[in-house]
Structures are given as C-alpha cells and as structure tokens.
C-alpha cells in the first residue's frame, strides 16, 4: 500500500514536505498566536501567584505558611486526600475489573453513573450532602440526636471530596483494561492461579502506570477542590478549613500576599502533578509501542 512510500505517522514530519504545510510566514504567525494565548491565559496567572506571594518579602512568605491556621488547613487537606484517594482507587480498580472482565446487564448505566460527578457542578456536589446530612436534611435530626457531625465537620468535607474525585481512577483504568482484554488473566487461570494472585501478578503489572496516573489526578483534585468543600465546610478557622478555603478567607480579609503564599503551595502541587503526569504518559506510550 501507500505505506511504503509515505510514512503513516506523517504528522511528525509534515513540515518537511512543503506541499502539505503552510508557508513559513503563516506557520510562525500561527505559532506566535498560540504562544501569546497560552502566555496570557496560563503563564501570566502563574507568574502573578509567585510575584504576589513574595511581594512582602521572603520572611512574610514563610510567616504566612507557618501560621497555625494555615498549618491546620494543610493538615485537613492532607487528611482528606489520604482518605478520599485510597477509597476511590479501590473503587476504581473494582469497577474497572467488573466492567472490563465480565458481561452483565446495566453495564452502560453503571458507566454513565461513574461519569456523573464530572457533569455536576461542584456546588451541587456539596449541596446534595447538605440536603442529606445537614440540620434540615433527611438524616439531620437522627444524626443530631446521636451527636454525630457530618456537615460543617471533617466527614462532610471528605464525602464531598470523594464525590468530585470519584471518577478519576475508574475512568483511567477502564479503557486500558478494555484494550488488554482477558487473555492474560485466562492464561493465568489455566495455569492454576487463583483469585487475588491473578490480580497482583498479572493484572496489576499491566495497569500500574495507568493506575498511578489516575491516582495522581485524583489527588490533585482532592487537595484543590474548592466549591464542593466550601458548601459543606462551614469555614471554621483552624478546624474545618482546607487550604483552598484558607486562601479565600485570607483574600477576603485583604491579606493578599499571605493568600498568594498559600496559593503558591497549591500551585507547586499542580506543577509536580503535571510533571509526574507527563513522565507517566511517556512510560505508557513506550509500553504501548512495545
């Protein structure tokens, strides 16, 4: 076929064949426009975070991070992620296993339900838990009589975070495990492997990068979620404030450089997430090719 003369992955070297690309001038105008757009929309906000956080100097920057309320917010953010990410990971693996290795009725409905939190506004994600567990909610009186706090307390924050980060791992694993099929696992069964051994020795090595990828994205969202957590938290300083909520409080109190100092911490998390993500992507594409 034509593959002998034309490289099928011609996208990579299209610019070496003049009749399949634009003139140099147009090319550079397009590149310039793209760079300008990214610079304005993405890079400028990042520079702003750094410059505003250091506006009052290095000491004030460290002071803002060492503030007891900021430390409490950091602790709550870490606790929330430490509960939400592992639970959603276990769920993601279980859901992907059921969906990709077996046939059953209602599978498409299940997949739609897993996607649902992506389509719901963060505010609505918080609201549903207030309606369920809040003082005026369905279970409110029952919880109240037993002195269990969910809304305006840590459990509500964890639940809302779990809801918004719920699809990440499952969404990542389903296409990977779908593509790999069931041959490897069936071979393991025919060789006498049983139960968890199949998962840990055969499936897990095949999906490990994708699993990590989903967990990294899940974690970034869990630590950075603002809207859903804002609805259920009650904004009690030092108690029910996560890092993003602490940023808001400082900002509304006109403590701009302290607010941006805390924000720079979360921006660092985002940058580290993106770097790990691109490393995992190249790992996955290498494995895919081999």
């Amino acid at each position: 076929m034509a593959g002998i003369v034309t490289n099928p992955r011609s996208g990579k070297n299209a610019d070496t064949r003049p009749h399949l690309t634009e003139s140099g001038l147009i090319r550079w105008v397009l590149i310039g426009a793209a760079l300008l757009f990214v610079g304005l929309i993405v890079v400028l906000p990042m520079i702003t975070v750094i410059s505003e956080s250091l506006r009052k100097g290095w000491d004030a920057y460290l002071e803002a991070l060492k503030d007891p309320d900021a430390m409490a917010a950091l602790r709550l953010t870490l606790i929330t992620a430490a509960i939400a990410v592992p639970l959603n990971t276990i769920f993601g693996v279980a859901a992907a296993w059921a969906i990709t290795k077996f046939k059953f009725r209602g599978k498409n409905l299940l997949i739609t339900l897993i996607d649902l939190p992506f389509a719901v506004s963060p505010i609505v994600s918080g609201l549903i838990y207030v309606l369920l567990f809040g003082a005026q909610g369905f279970l409110g009186p029952w919880l109240d009589s037993r002195d269990i706090d969910i809304i305006f307390a840590t459990p509500g924050i964890v639940l809302a975070t779990m809801f918004v980060t719920f699809p990440f791992v499952a969404r990542e694993l389903i296409p990977i495990m779908e593509a790999q099929g069931v041959q490897d696992e069936e071979a393991a069964v025919s060789l006498g492997a049983r139960g968890w051994r199949i998962f840990f020795k055969v499936t897990l090595p095949n999906i490990k990068w994708g699993l990590l990828y989903g967990m990294i994205l899940c974690n970034a969202r869990a630590m950075g979620e603002f809207g859903a957590v804002s609805v259920v938290s009650g904004h009690i300083r030092g108690e029910t404030n996560t890092l993003p909520l602490h940023i808001e409080i400082l900002y509304n109190e006109y403590q701009f450089s302290a607010s941006f100092a805390v924000a720079s911490l979360l921006m660092l998390l985002a940058i580290v997430t993106l770097i790990i993500k691109s490393i995992l992507e190249s790992r996955m594409s290498k494995e895919h090719e081999s």
Partner: protein
C-alpha cells in the same frame, strides 16, 4: 443481573467487584443525588416553576449560560489553533507548552480565581492597561468569561489533538494533486474530519463552565441580577436556609448539564460511526 452463567466465566471476582462497585456508587452518588431530587419535590410543580423562573434566578442562569458559551467559543478557536500548532509544527518549548495546556485541570480553581482577579483588577497588570480604554474586566461578565476560558482551555485541545495526530495524509495529498490550494484543503478535507472532536471539546468546555464556581467567584463581583452566576445563587439560598429553593435551582442546573452530556454522547457515537464507515470503505 448476570447474563453469563457461572460455568462460562473463567475469571473470579465478579460478585465481589460488582457488589462493591454498586454499593459504593449508590452510597456516594445515587442516594445523595436522589436526596436532591426528593428535596426539590417539597415544592409543588407550580412553586418549583416559580422558583426557577424568579427574575434573579433567570438572570443567573442566563449569565452562566452566556459567559460559558462565549468562553467555549473562544476555546473552540484557540483550542484548534493550539492542537494544530502542537501536532503539525516544530518550535522551541513545544513540550512545555503541551504540558501547560493541562494546568487548568491541575491548578486548584481558587488559585486561578485570585490570580486572574489580581491581573484584571483596575490596578492589575492587564486591568491597568485596559482601564484608560474604558474596558472593565474584573467584576463584570467579561471577567467571568476570562475565568471560564482558563478553565475550559484543555478540553478542545485534548479532544482534537489525538484525531489530528492519527489523521492520514493521503486525503491531503490527493486534494493537493487534484489542484486544491492549502486553504481549500483545510476547509474541505481537514476541517470536516475534525468537526466531531471540535464539537465534543466545545460541549465539554461549555458544560464545565456552567457549573464552575471557584475560579469565577473572585472575579465576578457577585452583584445580584448583574454578575451573580447560578452556582453562587445556590449558595446564597442555602445560607438563607431556603433549602428547597436551592434544590430547585440546582435541579435546573443539573437538567442543563444532562442535556449537554447526552449531546456529547450522541456526538461520540456519531464520530465512531463515521470512523467505522471510513475504515470499512478502505
């Protein structure tokens, strides 16, 4: 529930994994969402209708829909441009730009919100340049649109990029051989291929914008009837303990999201069918 008989299944773990999955989905997603729908039934049909057609609610829906729409249009154009430049051209810093496209997914929305507000406030870097021209960005619908452009940036790029990458050059070659100019080749050969991913990315960015809160709430100014987005109005109603009203506004918002989700699914089915008919023809 199970269509396969047990004897047909070689692999273990269906009952465990499916049971856990269904229980977890029910606890975290289904039951809480059902609570929302049931709560909005506290109102009678006409009360519900009054709640969502209240002038302030309608103004907030309109604002959320319009600003999300404009932002998605901007992202449609620049998303295509970025995908094109990243796939077809070589230039220094390309890998970094490619990585930065995902920043809006990874950066907490509150961080984006305060940064954008600072840039576009009257004393900010860009705000102070636009102020003498009489253009106000922060605390206006224009500011909301800019925040939503930031939030929606990755969607179009990431839906178009893989399609552009896998596109065979045969068709383009043929168009050139048949005497088409580059611009005509682009319009008649390349653009139709990219239409499904473009529309999918557009719808995803649009849907995300309608529900967005964190990045918008700082730059929007939050004036009732003017710069108050629908998600913020839900919070306002909650803080006034108008739970059923808040639920009614939320259900209205959810309905819009579901219509968009349905549209996206139909688009994907359409593009899959096209893909299959193309490969069958080859």
């Amino acid at each position: 529930m199970m269509r396969q008989r047990k004897a047909d299944r070689v692999l273990p773990g269906l009952n465990l994994s499916l049971g856990f999955t269904v229980a977890y989905v029910s606890l975290i997603v289904l039951i809480p969402l059902a609570a929302l729908v049931i709560k909005s039934f506290d109102l009678s049909m006409s009360e519900w209708w009054d709640a969502v057609t209240d002038a302030r609610v309608v103004a907030s829906y309109k604002l959320s829909l319009l600003t999300s729409f404009y932002a998605a249009v901007v992202n449609l154009v620049f998303g295509l441009l970025l995908a094109w430049v990243l796939v077809r051209y070589r230039f220094p810093g390309k890998r970094i730009i490619d990585g930065l496209i995902d920043l809006p997914f990874a950066l907490p929305t509150a961080v984006a919100g305060i940064a954008l507000t600072t840039i576009y406030a009257p004393k900010g870097w860009i705000g102070s340049l636009l102020e003498p021209l009489g253009i106000k960005v922060a605390y206006t619908p224009l500011g909301i649109t800019i925040a939503l452009i930031f939030i929606g940036l990755p969607f179009v790029v990431r839906t178009v990029q893989p399609v552009l990458q896998d596109m065979e050059s045969d068709m383009e070659e043929a168009a050139v051989l048949l005497g088409a100019y580059r611009s005509r080749t682009f319009r008649k050969v390349i653009l139709p291929e990219l239409l499904p991913p473009l529309l999918t990315g557009f719808a995803l960015a649009f849907a995300r914008g309608i529900g967005e809160y964190g990045s918008v709430v700082f730059i929007s100014g939050n004036m009732p009837m003017k710069t108050e987005i629908a998600p913020l109005l839900i919070i306002t109603k909650l803080e006034q303990y108008q739970y059923s009203q808040a639920a009614a506004v939320a259900v209205g918002l959810l309905l819009v999201s579901f219509v968009l989700l349905l549209f996206i699914n139909l688009l994907q089915r359409w593009s899959n069918r096209r893909l299959r008919s193309v490969t069958k023809g080859a």
